[in-house]
Each structure stands twice: as structure tokens, then as C-alpha cells.
């Protein structure tokens, strides 16, 4: 992990990439019985291949909703999302399942591991159904857990659990990695180890990565930082130099 090679990789990928996601006028309204909550009020966004984007915003700004729609977990109320030219907003349930199965990797704030399965088996849950998966051992090796293959989640620390979740997400060789507050439940030291794992995957595998967080400090490692507030993009900024996770502090 040295700084110059990272920069090189970023330039190479962003320069040649076609957009992975194209989002236009995306809205989402939650119907909560008597009241309606407008979570997204018209989002326009693009994500290039190999790009690492951080979505920043406070609680309730619509980050998770946007991520869920990008990941095919939730449906939009209006607007359009295309993934490599395919319209996700018109996809059927079956198509969305296939999309999630073969193209997207998810990392959640609370890891969402299966407690009854070991690290290796948690990854195998994905590799068993994917098209061109890595070996679970390799995926775990990438996140530095080669030594803990047969441990159950309860026997691992929070950071280690989150790294299993990352291994699980990348093991299918996804085109895009979506991370919802991946360090939200971790202390800063452990959080950095997790971010290093994400950064390495993005750099070495060229996987387009979206990280959502309310932690401004994490924004330093992104190619691009998108600020959300109240369901709208209020600001977009580009980092000329991506910071190394180990240089981040919070």
C-alpha cells in the first residue's frame, strides 16, 4: 500500500471508465400511514468504474435509502437508476435478485453475518451461488483473516466480523461494492483496519465502491465526496490525492 501506486490506479480507472451507475431525478417517498416521508427528493449522480465515492450526510439525509436503491434492495418512487445501461427502476423482483447475486457486494453497519456459520462458511454462502467467485479462503486472505477461517462470528472482534462481511461482499468479484456505515459500530483503530481492507479491494480489484458515512474524516480516502442533506445532493467535491486510511483520524 504505497501512496503513488494508489494514485496511479485511481487515475487509470477513472480515466477509462464508463459509468457503472447513472442516477437521474431519483425520488423516494415512504408512506407511514397518515404521513408521507420524502427520503429522496431528486438525486442525480454517476459512478464510474473503479471509483471510490463517499456519501456523506447526517442521519435521515437519505444516504441509506439511496444505497438500498442502488443495491436493488429497495425500489424508487420516481426517477431512474441504470446499472451499466440497465434500468433498475423497471427491473422485476427476479431481475433484482440476479443483479444482487452477480453484480453487487454489500457491507452493512452491523455486519449481518450468519452467527451459526464460521468465517469461511459465511463467505461460502455467497461463493456457492455466484458465477465466478474467489475461493472463500482467498477472499478472507485479502482482508487479512486467513488465520481465522474456522471461527464463528461470536469468537471474533467487531473489526474482524466486519472484515468477514467485506470478504463475503468481494468474494463474488462484484462490479460494485456498497458499504453502509462500515465503521459505524467500530472504534477508530478497528475502523481504519476495515477501511484499509476496502481501499485495498478498490485498488487491487478495481471494484467501484460507495461508502456511506456520517463521519467527515473518512471522506479523505475517496476519489469523490458527495454530500447529502434532506434527500438532496448539496455538494460534490473531488480529492486530488486520496488519503491512505492509516492517515485518517477521528
Amino acid at each position: 500500500m504505497n501512496g503513488s501506486s494508489t494514485q496511479e490506479a485511481v487515475h487509470k480507472k477513472t480515466g477509462t471508465a464508463c459509468p457503472v451507475f447513472q442516477v437521474q431525478g431519483l425520488t423516494k417517498i415512504y408512506d407511514m400511514g397518515e404521513i408521507q416521508v420524502q427520503a429522496l427528493r431528486g438525486i442525480d449522480l454517476e459512478l464510474a468504474a473503479g471509483e471510490l465515492v463517499v456519501l456523506l450526510g447526517p442521519s435521515g439525509s437519505g444516504k441509506s435509502t439511496l444505497l438500498n436503491i442502488l443495491g436493488g434492495l429497495d425500489t424508487a418512487s420516481g426517477g431512474q437508476v441504470t446499472y451499466c445501461g440497465k434500468d433498475l427502476t423497471r427491473a422485476t423482483e427476479k431481475e433484482l435478485t440476479e443483479y444482487r447475486r452477480f453484480h453487487v457486494g454489500f457491507v452493512f453497519q452491523f455486519y449481518n453475518l450468519i452467527p451459526s456459520l464460521t468465517a469461511r462458511e459465511n463467505v461460502a454462502v455467497v461463493t456457492e451461488i455466484a458465477k465466478n467467485p474467489m475461493r472463500p479462503e482467498d477472499a478472507l486472505g485479502l482482508v487479512g483473516l486467513a488465520e481465522r477461517l474456522d471461527h464463528f462470528p461470536a469468537q471474533l472482534s467487531g473489526g474482524e466480523q466486519q472484515r468477514i462481511a467485506i470478504a463475503r461482499a468481494i468474494s463474488k468479484n462484484p462490479e460494485v461494492l456498497l458499504c453502509d456505515e462500515p465503521t459505524g459500530a467500530l472504534d477508530s483503530q478497528t475502523g481504519i483496519v476495515v477501511l484499509e481492507a476496502l481501499e485495498r479491494v478498490n485498488r487491487e480489484l478495481g471494484t467501484a465502491t460507495v461508502i456511506i458515512t456520517h463521519n467527515v474524516d473518512i471522506a479523505g480516502m475517496a476519489d469523490r465526496v458527495v454530500h447529502l442533506s434532506n434527500g438532496l445532493i448539496v455538494e460534490t467535491s473531488r480529492n486530488v490525492i486520496r488519503k491512505q486510511p492509516k492517515d485518517l483520524k477521528w
Binding site: 429497495d74 423482483e93 454489500f106 452493512f108 462458511e121 461470536a154
Partner: protein, 818 residues
């Protein structure tokens, strides 16, 4: 599923599946998908609950397999025995006909084989057994090989036709007295005392069940079957070249009714008593009734268990789905389809069902063999051909799996359709309301913990109701098993104590003049004598007929009472006929209608007699008339068929000795012996059923209470841990927690009583027949036993869960999010 994910996962260390996964000890491991491994480990984690459900499924499948298989096996055994030993299809008895009549019977269209026999009732005198014993004496052809109703000779040999003192005896009778070939006993044959030597012990398809005519249960000690050579019986009864009993088989396609009516016509002038088919043959009849009961039991009991199992699965799987919300979300996020997730939980259900069904079938076979052995005590077959039909196994699997899937459909569907984005968020807190008790102003007297208990129950009223219903099923099953002995006690009390007061019943060989009873009165020790007259008759009303007897008593009888439908003694009216209420239903006749009575004895008059009243009777069905009225109807003199006696108990053996010597007396029955025998023969099967029912009832109650407790613990461990942190003692949180179950269990008892009674009523209607009707009688002790089994099972499961409650890890529980 109970603990928080962290705590739960920690336990996998002790799970055998975890060990095999860690070390790859077993080969099958490698071929399993990660999701299937999850399934096995989830199952291991909920092993207590799964076991409770498995036990309930085992109970249902086992009772199903037991009842059905015993029925099939007995059926198969019976059919084989009937076929191999040429059981007759038509049975006719008559007064006396020349052997030449046999040719005419053979000529009846549709008749295949014909066998004529001589049959008689004899009194036996067995050394060392000073009680009245009677036997049915049947002739066997001189060649020793009956054409029909052939004998299965268990030991010894057939009789030698040249010897007039040799007999083959029935197996059950021989066993009851410990007889073996070479033993001998005394018998009064046509008035002459004779020593009979046993040459063999045999079984006959005609006497699979050996019940004395008019008896309620087999009495192997006091009633037996003897087979003697035709030559010897013919000589003894003056039946040389004659017969008084005929059996036949039919050609394929022959019409039973036509043959019977022609046979009756042929036998009519020889004093035929009306031929019957197998369905009215005593032994066959009892067997068929038994099959009908087994069939009904196979419907009722398994249905209860499978229903309860489906409910328990519903509760457990719903809870599992709800605790695994986030896992489900993750699985969907990484690309598992709704179908995959639905299948995953379906597999979990089916796995539990599979364990239950397989063990249930094994247990059912084991129980069926036990029940088969008990049946073989009553029903004497040469062998017991146990049969487990593949269709029974298939039915057990399909019914159980079907019910389980139906029961869990909602939960599985919920898991399958759970939107992943929504599942990602924790479940919203459950909403609570003030309870009705509080609303009506009783809130002030309730402590906080009590309020928690009540609000919990009211929050999920449907679930609480199902729990109560489930527990009450346990209570009901227990009551339904106990009720039989209560009802039998009651039946015996009515039949043998309230209706019959005599000590002995004497039957004459043939109707005799009333004055013969002076002979009985003269016996030392006899206190009171009342004669009776019994004649066989066929009743006809509209197109319905029924063959039974008319029983008649003296006016102002002191020994035999008729009881009305409210069990109050009634006077026998001087004219007209009184019918058993069940018989009136069978004939669809009511009081005031004219009944056509075709007498099957003497001059065989056919008369119209008005039905004047109905009486309650639990065993058998018949008609009753005043004795003079019956004599008038018969156009005979003052004749009697026998008499009821009361005897000084100290003189009973002496009186009995005298009766054996009286040529006119065909048989003697002692009322107390009959009662004692009845209880003795029932005792073992009663014990068997009570034992099984207790286990089954306990299983249901335990299964329901234990599962409810574990689910509540899982739902509320945070809440309870919080209370502990606030300073509540273990006892106090146990009160909150177990109090709810206590309330539900107590509420289940009265419902269980009602359900139990309803179940008894159903069983009673399902098994009632003209042979007997069991009244629904439930003693307080039976209710108490039902309640006790439920309370005990509930307490045991409460204690087990309480143990977990005591070990609640406060810190861990509070640290993790729901």
C-alpha cells in the same frame, strides 16, 4: 433463537455440527451448502424446542401407526385365518333335522359347501374350580376334518370317533385352566355326568373371540368351546343321523339374502332359528366392532397431536424468522431469492417433521406390537401377522408434513417476502395497551409485575388463545383416556347392580313348566327365586328388521329391574312390548307404533305388538314383556326358560354343586363372577391405554408450555434483564415471566375439561353399537388427573426455563441491540 446473536453463536462451539465443520471430520460435510449448515446449527440451537415438537409429532404419528397398523394386521391375520381354515359365510341353527336335509340345502342356488353339525351347551365340573363353567360343545366329522370352520390344532391330536369321551378344547379355555392334552374334567352332557379327556388344544375361525351368548366380555375360565366327534355328540343328544346346526359357504356371485331366505324356508319346519351371515356371527361381529373403533381412534388422537404440532411449529418458526430478520436481509442482499429463503425455512420445518415422523413410525410399530399382543389375549388367532403398509407410512408423512407446512405457511411466507431494505432495520417495538382489567378500574390493585403479565397476554390474544387451546388438548387427551374406566364402572353399576339384583342366573335346557322352580326353591341356601322366559325373535318395523330376544319377568320382580332413560326403575306393563332405546332407534320405531314380532321358537308365531315404553340399557339390545303376556303371545302354557336366584353367600358353592347335577339346568351364571371377570379381562388393556395416554397428554402439555416459555424468554430477555439491573430479584422476574404461563395454564384447565368431555362424547358416538353403548361418565378424579398431568408438565417446563432465566447474562443482553 433465544439469545442475542452473539450469545447464541458462542454456543455453537458445543454443537457437533460445528465440530465437524471445524475439523472436517465427516465427508458429507463437504457436500453441504453453507445455508444447510446454518440450518443444522439453527436446529441444534433450538434443540430443546425442536425436541418438544418432535415428541408431539412422535405421539401423533405413533398413535396413528399403532391404531391403523393393529387394525390392518388384525384384518390381515383374520382374513388369512378365515381363508386357510374355511370360515363359513352362513350360520343356521335349528331344533332338529334329518341328515338327508343336507342334500336339499346343497341344492339351494348359490350354496357352495355345506356342513351339518350338532351343537349343545354343556355344564362342566372342573376340579379345583368351584364356580359354574359352561361350554359350547360342537361336533366334528368322524374323520376329524371339518369342511368348514376347520380347527387349527395347536397341540395334541383330533378326537378318536370310536371314543365317546374325547374332546379337543379351545386354546383360551385350556390356557385359563392350565389344561394340556391328557388332562380330564367332568361334564354334564344331556343330563349325564361324564369324564372327558382332552386330546388336543385348538383354535377355530368361528371362535376367534369366545364370548358366552349374552356376555359382555370373554370369560375364558367360565366359558369354553369343546369339539367332540359327531358320533359321540350324536349319541349323547339323540341326534344320530340328525343335526341341529348348519354352516355353509357361498359360490362367487351368490346373493347372500336369497340364500338365507331359501335356507330359512328349508329349515322352517325343522325349528330353524333364522340363519345369519358373518356380520351377525358373534365372534366376527365383535372383531368388526373392534376394527371400527381402531379406525376411529386412528382419526381422532393423531389429529389432535398433529394439530398441536403444527401450532407449535408455527410459534417457533415465526419467532425464528423474526429473530433472523437481519440474517434474512443479508441473504437477500447478497443475492438469495425469495424462493431460496422460503425453502430454507421450509427445510427447517421438514427436518423437524422428518425426525418426528421417522421416530413416530418406529414408536408406532413398537406400540402396535404391544397392542397386538394385548389383542391376541382376547382374539385368538394361530399367529399375529404384523403388517405395516407402505401406504400408512406415506399417509403419516404426507399428513404430518402437510399440516406442518400449512401451520408454518404464514411464517415462511413472511420470511420469503420480507423486503430486504425493511429487514435491515430493527423491528419496531411492540405496541402495548392498558388491559381490560385496568380499564374497568381494577388497575389500582394490580402490582407492576402483574400488569406486565396481563398486558402481555392481552397484547397477543390470539397467540394466548392458541396456547391455552394447546395446553387444554393435553388435559383433554388425559381425560378421554380416564373416562373409559369411569364409564365402565358406571355401566357395570347400572347393568349389574341397579338392574340386576340376583346372585345367580339359571338357564334351562328347554322351556319348562313354571312349577319346576319349586325344585330350585327347595335347594338349601336359596333365598328367593324368580322365573323368566326368553325367546329368540326377529323384530320388524317397516323395512327394518333386527334379530334378538324377548326377555320376560314376573310382575313385581324384585331381582330384575328395567330402567327408564333417566335410570329410574319402571314397572313392566301387563301387555305390549318394551324396547331398549337404542333398538327403537335402529328400527326407527317409537312408543305407540305396532312392532311385528316373528318368534323363532316353538310354534313360531308372528304377531303385532304395540311398543309401550323404552328403556335404557348399555349392553345389548332386546325387547321386554310381562311373562304371562309372552306366554300368551307364544300360545304356550305357563312356561319358563330359567330363573334368577338369590342365595345365601355361604351356601353358594353347595347350591352350585346341586345345580350342576340338575339335568334341566343348562348353565349357571354368577353375577359377582361376571363383574370380577369383566374387570380382570379389561385390566391389562386399560392399563396399557392409560399409560400411553398419560405420556401423550404429558407430551402435549410439556411441548406447549415449554415452547411458549422459550419463545417468551427469547422475546423478553432484554426486558427481564433490564428489570434485574433495576434491582428486581430472580424470584420477581420469574414471577413476571412464569406468571403469564401460569395464568394461561390455569385458564387451559376448564377448557381442557370441556374439550375432554366433548372428546369423550365423540368417542362414545363413534364406538357405540347394538353390542354396547358407553355412557359419558366422568368422575372428579378423572378431571383431577387431567389437571394434575398438565400442571406437572407445565411445572417441569417452567423449572427448566427458570433455570435459564437464572443464568441470564445481564451485561451481554443489554449490550447487544435487538
Amino acid at each position: 433463537m433465544l439469545d442475542t446473536p452473539q450469545l447464541a453463536a458462542g454456543r455453537f462451539i458445543s454443537c457437533p455440527f460445528a465440530i465437524i465443520s471445524g475439523k472436517k471430520l465427516f465427508r458429507f460435510e463437504g457436500s453441504m451448502t453453507a445455508l444447510d449448515k446454518k440450518l443444522l446449527r439453527d436446529l441444534w440451537l433450538m434443540k430443546g424446542q425442536a425436541l418438544a415438537i418432535v415428541l408431539v409429532i412422535v405421539s401423533g404419528v405413533a398413535t396413528f401407526v399403532m391404531f391403523i397398523s393393529v387394525m390392518h394386521s388384525l384384518n390381515k391375520t383374520r382374513d388369512a385365518f378365515y381363508r386357510d381354515f374355511a370360515f363359513a359365510e352362513v350360520f343356521g341353527s335349528l331344533k332338529r333335522a334329518p341328515e338327508s336335509l343336507r342334500a336339499r340345502i346343497s341344492e339351494i342356488p348359490g350354496v357352495d359347501l355345506v356342513e351339518t353339525r350338532v351343537a349343545a351347551d354343556v355344564k362342566l365340573d372342573i376340579e379345583g374350580f368351584n364356580e359354574p363353567v359352561t361350554a359350547r360343545l360342537m361336533s366334528v366329522p368322524n374323520n376329524g376334518r371339518p369342511l368348514l370352520n376347520r380347527l387349527y390344532l395347536k397341540t395334541g391330536r383330533m378326537v378318536d370317533p370310536s371314543k365317546d369321551n374325547e374332546v379337543v378344547v379351545s386354546d383360551a379355555f385350556a390356557q385359563a385352566h392350565g389344561f394340556k392334552p391328557g388332562d380330564s374334567f367332568g361334564a354334564v352332557i344331556n343330563g349325564r355326568w361324564k369324564t372327558l379327556v382332552i386330546t388336543g388344544i385348538a383354535l377355530s375361525p368361528e371362535f376367534v373371540l369366545q364370548v358366552k351368548p349374552g356376555g359382555i366380555s370373554p370369560d375364558f375360565k367360565r366359558y369354553g368351546i369343546l369339539w367332540m366327534s359327531r358320533e359321540a355328540v350324536g349319541t349323547a343328544y339323540d341326534m344320530d343321523g340328525a343335526f341341529n346346526d348348519v354352516v355353509l359357504t357361498l359360490l362367487p356371485g351368490a346373493k347372500f339374502e336369497d340364500v338365507v331366505s331359501r335356507l330359512d324356508a328349508v329349515l322352517d319346519r325343522y325349528g330353524g332359528f333364522g340363519a345369519v351371515g358373518r356380520k351377525d356371527q358373534m365372534s366376527h361381529r365383535f372383531l368388526s366392532e373392534e376394527f371400527r373403533q381402531l379406525d376411529r381412534f386412528a382419526e381422532v388422537f393423531p389429529a389432535i397431536f398433529i394439530g398441536v404440532a403444527a401450532f407449535l411449529l408455527n410459534v417457533v418458526i415465526s419467532r425464528t424468522v423474526s429473530t433472523q430478520r437481519e440474517q434474512i436481509a443479508a441473504l437477500k442482499a447478497i443475492g438469495y431469492s425469495n424462493f431460496d429463503v422460503g425453502m430454507h425455512f421450509t427445510k427447517l420445518v421438514l427436518f423437524i417433521v422428518l425426525i418426528g415422523v421417522v421416530s413416530g413410525i418406529a414408536a408406532g410399530v413398537w406400540l402396535a406390537k404391544g397392542l397386538g399382543r394385548i389383542y391376541m389375549e382376547f382374539y385368538r388367532f394361530p399367529y399375529f401377522d404384523f403388517e405395516l403398509r407402505p401406504s400408512v407410512v406415506v399417509a403419516a408423512v404426507v399428513i404430518t408434513a402437510g399440516s406442518a407446512l400449512l401451520g408454518t405457511l404464514r411464517a415462511v411466507r413472511q420470511a420469503a417476502l420480507l423486503p430486504p431494505a425493511q429487514a435491515m432495520r430493527p423491528e419496531p417495538p411492540m405496541s402495548y395497551r392498558k388491559t381490560t382489567l385496568e380499564k374497568i378500574g381494577l388497575g389500582a390493585i394490580l402490582s407492576q409485575p402483574t400488569r406486565i403479565i396481563l398486558r402481555n397476554i392481552e397484547r397477543k390474544p390470539f397467540k394466548a388463545l392458541l396456547t391455552v387451546a394447546g395446553i387444554s388438548c393435553g388435559c383433554a387427551v388425559m381425560i378421554a383416556s380416564g373416562f373409559f374406566s369411569d364409564s365402565v364402572d358406571f355401566m357395570v353399576d347400572v347393568q349389574f347392580r341397579q338392574a340386576q339384583r340376583e346372585d345367580m342366573t339359571i338357564t334351562y335346557i328347554e322351556p319348562s313348566a313354571r312349577r319346576t322352580i319349586h325344585e330350585l326353591k327347595g335347594l338349601f341356601g336359596v333365598e328367593h327365586v324368580e322365573p323368566f322366559r326368553t325367546v329368540p325373535a326377529r323384530f320388524r318395523f317397516g323395512h327394518r328388521t333386527y334379530r334378538t330376544v324377548i326377555q320376560s319377568f314376573e310382575p313385581n320382580t324384585r331381582l330384575h329391574y328395567l330402567l327408564d332413560t333417566k335410570l329410574k326403575p319402571i314397572e313392566l306393563p301387563p301387555s305390549g312390548i318394551v324396547l331398549t332405546d337404542y333398538l327403537a332407534d335402529l328400527l326407527a320405531i317409537k312408543v305407540g307404533d305396532q312392532l311385528i314380532v316373528e318368534v323363532l321358537e316353538g310354534n313360531r308365531p308372528v304377531r303385532q305388538v304395540p311398543v309401550v315404553s323404552l328403556v335404557k340399557q348399555y349392553i345389548g339390545v332386546m325387547g321386554y314383556m310381562d311373562r304371562s303376556a309372552l306366554n300368551r303371545l307364544m300360545r304356550e302354557g305357563d312356561l319358563v326358560s330359567g330363573a334368577y336366584l338369590t342365595v345365601d353367600s355361604r351356601e353358594q358353592p353347595a347350591v352350585y354343586r346341586k345345580l350342576v347335577e340338575m339335568p334341566r339346568v343348562a348353565g349357571t351364571a354368577v353375577r359377582m363372577d361376571e363383574i370380577r371377570n369383566f374387570y380382570e379381562t379389561q385390566a391389562e388393556s386399560m392399563l396399557f391405554f392409560t399409560f400411553i395416554a398419560t405420556i401423550l397428554a404429558g407430551t402435549i402439555a410439556f411441548g406447549v408450555v415449554y415452547n411458549s416459555a422459550r419463545i417468551s424468554l427469547s422475546e423478553r430477555s432484554r426486558e427481564l434483564a433490564s428489570l434485574r439491573v433495576l434491582g428486581y430479584t430472580r424470584g420477581e422476574i420469574s414471577y413476571i415471566f412464569l406468571g403469564e404461563l401460569g395464568v394461561l395454564t390455569l385458564a387451559a384447565l376448564p377448557l381442557g375439561f370441556i374439550l375432554g368431555r366433548a372428546l369423550c362424547a365423540y368417542i362414545v358416538t363413534a364406538v357405540e353399537s347394538d353390542l354396547f353403548r358407553v355412557p359419558v361418565v366422568l368422575e372428579n378424579e378423572t378431571y383431577a388427573l387431567g389437571a394434575a398431568v398438565v400442571l406437572l408438565s407445565a411445572s417441569v417446563s417452567g423449572l427448566i426455563v427458570r433455570h435459564r432465566l437464572d443464568h441470564l447474562d445481564l451485561v451481554a443482553v443489554l449490550k447487544t441491540r435487538e
